[in-house]
């Protein structure tokens, strides 16, 4: 029972099967659109038009994608170690403190390129710390990381409400948010990047953190596939028993992996706080931590898959907002359904079509070998 399914060519395993799962997820989503009384085809064309049809749309798509690259990488790193970090949402939320505090302290005195590294470090540290506790509890006390990270999401949410309402809110203000940062706490937008291909991003908050996300994707690839630590992480993920026979210290790897995962989720906070709103608001994460699960599953936990998957979800977020202008029945919540369906078909049911595809390739292979045999009949 070591290999329940026959081996398939790599392009089928990493290309065709995920694609089929994705198509099925979108077909089911199309049925929902149909049930609401709208045309799925028109919805799809509006979606793509809204997300890629003009400069500002592309800017917003990439802005959302930035969030999802970070959270997708966070989930993926944990997956490689056989851990399921559902806590990206909470880690990013708490990590907002690591971004907002340097901005609040320094924004009057320092330019953005001084504050940005401090905020990167701050967000990674706080996010990493928030994920380290579940990691430590799993490694040393045996409590399951899935349950603890869920609990930590709720604890994070309560904590941040307290901090924003009772501590960081400027006196005399009603809204539960920090003050708006001065120039130093604002990341430059990347309008020049899209302008170089002749696009005007208009009001889209597409900013520096996108580049940071790409760097993070590269670093994740480097660490997971090109270092000793990455090798140990993947060994743990494949077989904890083998890892411990190989002399890998399990608890150390679990804690380090969770910290990396939390740090990546934490850096997501840079994008909305320093890149867009220039202040920390209640609930600024807005579900990006959970989208990361879908992105990591779709991208097969590989940075090369995660970046396009994140852009696809960025497209859904931006295009979904556009659809709701034309089709009032279809709001942002449609994206939540699609997200759920992608998680279902690309994650939990990923092997549903595999037997059929294996059979198909077996007959294909069989037919070929039949031909090579002279006068088989």
């Amino acid at each position: 029972m070591s290999a329940p399914y026959a081996k398939l060519p790599a392009w089928v395993d990493y290309g065709l099967i995920p694609l089929i799962n994705l198509i099925v997820a979108f077909l089911v989503a199309g049925l929902v659109v149909l049930a609401v009384g709208e045309s799925p085809l028109r919805a799809a064309s509006l979606l793509i038009e809204g997300a890629f049809g003009y400069g500002e749309g592309i800017g917003f798509t990439l802005y959302y994608a930035t969030n999802f690259i970070f959270t997708g990488l966070a989930v993926a790193v944990a997956f490689h170690c056989g851990l399921f970090n559902i806590g990206g949402e909470g880690q990013a939320y708490v990590a907002g403190l690591g971004v907002a505090l340097p901005c609040l302290w320094l924004d009057q005195f320092a330019p953005w390129y001084v504050i940005f590294p401090a905020a990167i470090l701050g967000s990674a540290l706080v996010g990493g710390f928030w994920a380290m506790i579940p990691g430590w509890l799993q490694a040393k006390r045996g409590s399951h990381v899935v349950i603890t990270t869920i609990m930590f999401n709720f604890i994070a949410s309560s904590l941040m409400v307290y901090v924003l309402v009772d501590v960081l809110k400027p006196a005399g203000s009603m809204a539960p948010q920090t003050r708006t940062f001065a120039e130093g706490g604002q990341l430059p937008r990347l309008d020049w990047l899209l302008a170089s291909v002749g696009l005007d991003i208009g009001g889209a908050p597409f900013n520096m953190s996108f580049l940071l996300a790409l760097v993070a994707a590269f670093v994740v690839w480097l660490v997971i596939w090109r270092t000793k630590l990455g090798y140990e992480i993947r060994t743990m993920g494949h077989s904890p028993t083998a890892a411990s026979y190989a002399g890998i210290r399990q608890s150390r790897i679990i804690i380090i992996t969770m910290m990396m995962s939390g740090a990546l989720a934490g850096m997501m906070a840079l994008n909305p706080i320093m890149g867009d709103q220039h202040r920390m608001q209640l609930d600024f994460v807005g579900g990006a931590g959970f989208v990361g699960i879908a992105v990591a599953l779709m991208g097969r936990s590989h940075p090369v898959g995660i970046v396009p998957a994140a852009i696809l979800f960025g497209m859904l977020y931006q295009g979904g907002a556009e659809i709701s202008f034309e089709m009032p029945q279809i709001s942002r919540d449609m994206i939540t359904i699609i997200q759920g369906l992608v998680i279902l078909f690309a994650g939990a049911l990923e092997n549903m079509f595999r037997p059929a595809i294996t059979a198909f390739f077996a007959t294909l292979g069989g037919a070929r070998s039949d031909k090579s045999l002279p006068a088989a009949e």
Binding site: A35, F84, I147, Y162, I337
Partner: protein, 323 residues
């Protein structure tokens, strides 16, 4: 006497908010005891609340609403079963998926069908569950202490409330005194042994998942048709996860589940009551701390600092018959 009355009021709202927790946690108990982890309690409850609210609004019958709630919840439970039993997929991933599908679908369908911003129409009369007065509640209300406890705390709840509390000993009986319960527990600990005995692991686990669906359905119906009159967008608000926490806190035992849910419900009722009020000795406790307390307690328990919560041994592991 004034303190006593306040206590009765708090306990009464404790019962009110504990009911969906008890139902959902018992639902999770059936599933997890059979080795199927279910973090989709929240989603099933939400979908059931919507289906119940919608069906009751259209048909003006609370019972049809309840049936619709149970039906939808069981359907979602079967999706989870199909993914985690038949397809041997990751049970956590499947649960997460169901939560999102329910969260999105209830709003989209609600908006398309009723056009009230994701709400279902206000329920009234026969389309909503009504409270039940226990016999002689009015007559003995004036007797100090006992009368107050009887007529204010024990009487005047919904039928579903009494059902929820009745389900606690019932679940205990099913689990520990019936053949089905014995097999259910066995399949969560050692499915191989159950299979060797000639009993279908698949069918047993499917039945457990269906039980989970039924109870989540009742929990959802309670939310939208008893506790409030109609479905509101995202109305479960994390109750499914509190129930999950309570289930772990109770170490997967039915009677403990009831007490854990009552404790978490009590914390909830207190946090509403105490908003801004000072406690003796401790001073003002932030509401957020009270809200986070169930989760904190669960984390501490899971870490083994107060007792040890040991999950069913085969939980989360798909069963593969030997080839």
């Amino acid at each position: 006497m004034e303190y006593f009355d306040t206590l009765i009021v708090i306990l009464q709202s404790t019962v009110r908010v504990s009911v969906p927790l008890i139902l959902a946690a018992l639902a999770g108990l059936y599933s997890e005891r059979a080795g199927i982890f279910d973090i989709g309690l929240e989603g099933k409850m939400l979908a059931a609340a919507f289906a119940g609210g919608a069906a009751a609004a259209v048909t003006a019958s609370a019972l049809i609403g309840l049936a619709a709630a149970i039906f939808v919840s069981v359907c979602l439970a079967l999706v989870h079963g199909f993914a985690s039993i038949t397809q041997r997929g990751n049970q956590i991933v499947s649960g997460v998926a169901i939560n999102f599908i329910a969260l999105g679908a209830t709003v989209i369908l609600g908006q398309a069908w009723f056009r009230q911003g994701g709400r279902t129409p206000q329920l009234s009369g026969d389309s909503r569950f009504t409270t039940v007065e226990l016999p002689y509640a009015a007559e003995i209300a004036d007797i100090p202490v006992i009368g107050s406890i009887y007529s204010n705390l024990l009487s005047g709840h919904f039928m579903l409330t009494y059902l929820a509390f009745a389900l606690v000993p019932f679940t205990w009986w099913v689990l520990y005194r019936t053949r089905f319960g014995l097999r259910l527990r066995a399949v969560g600990e050692n499915p191989g042994a159950v299979d060797t005995a000639g009993i279908s692991v698949t069918w047993l686990r499917y039945r457990a998942v269906i039980c989970c669906g039924i109870l989540c359905g009742i929990a959802g119906a309670y939310l939208s048709m008893a506790m409030t009159a109609g479905f509101v967008k995202g109305m479960t608000a994390g109750k499914g996860f509190i129930a999950l926490a309570a289930l772990i806190f109770a170490k997967w035992k039915p009677v403990n589940v009831m007490f854990a849910c009552l404790l978490f419900g009590f914390l909830d009722a207190m946090s509403i009551r105490m908003q801004g009020n000072e406690l003796p000795i401790i001073g003002v406790v932030p509401v957020q701390f009270m809200q986070a307390l169930p989760y904190l307690l669960t984390v501490i328990l899971l870490a083994g600092f107060i007792g040890k919560a040991i999950p069913p041994r085969a939980g989360g592991v798909p069963y593969v018959k030997e080839r």
